[in-house]
């Protein structure tokens, strides 16, 4: 059963790398491990005969979003997550908020467990459905995306537009301070 073996290998890699992402003290390592996790996910998509999703996962998540993360880590200059005074006083570390966060985490676990039980009820693995063929062909993805999901596609452009403006506005605020010491 090489298929099953590969599946467990990739799944283990994805989970292991993701667990290590939050276990690392050095954010640079976290970024690298997250990329490894995305790579394992792409492998799983390939196993599901969805090569386009796999490649998009690599191009957008591992190739673009993680570059952004890397820049943020370098921008903040945080070689270590040190427990400095200001860090311990961070608003997200207040007991009330921490408890709320823990509750959300618990809710997620319950939801995941419920989803798993339901999946066991359905029984059939996702890849064996008849619409799997539609996912595997990029041409089919294009045809469906630009007919049935036309509105969602156009709405995406608005979303991207808003994100672009938002990024510039947020960065400009910092820039105003930088402009004082202009000839840097």
């Amino acid at each position: 059963m090489p298929e099953t073996l590969v599946f467990y290998l990739l799944a283990g890699l994805a989970i292991g790398a993701s667990a290590l992402v939050i276990g690392q003290r050095n954010p640079m390592y976290s970024v690298m491990l997250l990329i490894a996790s995305f790579g394992a996910l792409a492998g799983l998509y390939i196993q599901l005969e969805a090569p386009f999703v796999a490649v998009a996962q690599i191009i957008i998540y591992a190739g673009a979003i993680m570059v952004l993360f890397l820049f943020v880590v370098m921008l903040l200059n945080a070689p270590q997550e040190d427990a400095a005074e200001w860090d311990r006083l961070h608003p997200l570390r207040q007991p009330g908020i921490a408890r709320f966060g823990a509750m959300l985490g618990l809710l997620l676990v319950v939801q995941l467990a419920w989803a798993l039980i339901r999946a066991a009820e359905i029984g059939a693995p996702v890849g064996s459905r008849s619409d799997a063929a539609a996912v595997s062909s990029v041409r089919e993805v294009g045809r469906v995306l630009f007919t049935d999901y036309m509105f969602a596609f156009e709405a995406t452009s608005i979303l991207i537009l808003v994100a672009m403006v938002g990024a510039v506005v947020l960065a400009r605020r910092e820039d105003a301070g930088e402009a004082e010491g202009e000839e840097r």
Binding site: G63, L68, M74, P79, R139, V141, A171, R172, D175, E178
Partner: protein
Amino acid sequence: MDGWLGVVIMIVLGVGFAGVMIGLSILLGPRNPTPEKLAPYECGMPAVGDARERHSVKFYLVAMIFLLFDIEIAFLYPWAVALRDLGWAGFMQVVTFFLILSVGYIYVWRKGVLDWGPVARAVRRQVRDKAA
């Protein structure tokens, strides 16, 4: 599935090649480090401070804009393959998509995000004067 095995073999060969080469050089090369040798290069002067300083927010902005356009390009590939089936309706959809995005592109351009160096400083001054 068959084709992907080739990619995996290539990755394994690449990692193996690099690993063997580095291992060989560790075996064959000499090893007598001195404090001067291990200092980061600074044109012969002792290095001042840490290299990992905070840097310009510009790089972050460029990465952000790149990410947004990259999403757009990922949509283009299935469109390009299926265009002959989609016809002019599909063509108009992508043109609309581009027109909406071009608003953002022009905004980013006018705000001087795409400018670096002396041009960027001039644009920044202009924007600030207009605001004042």
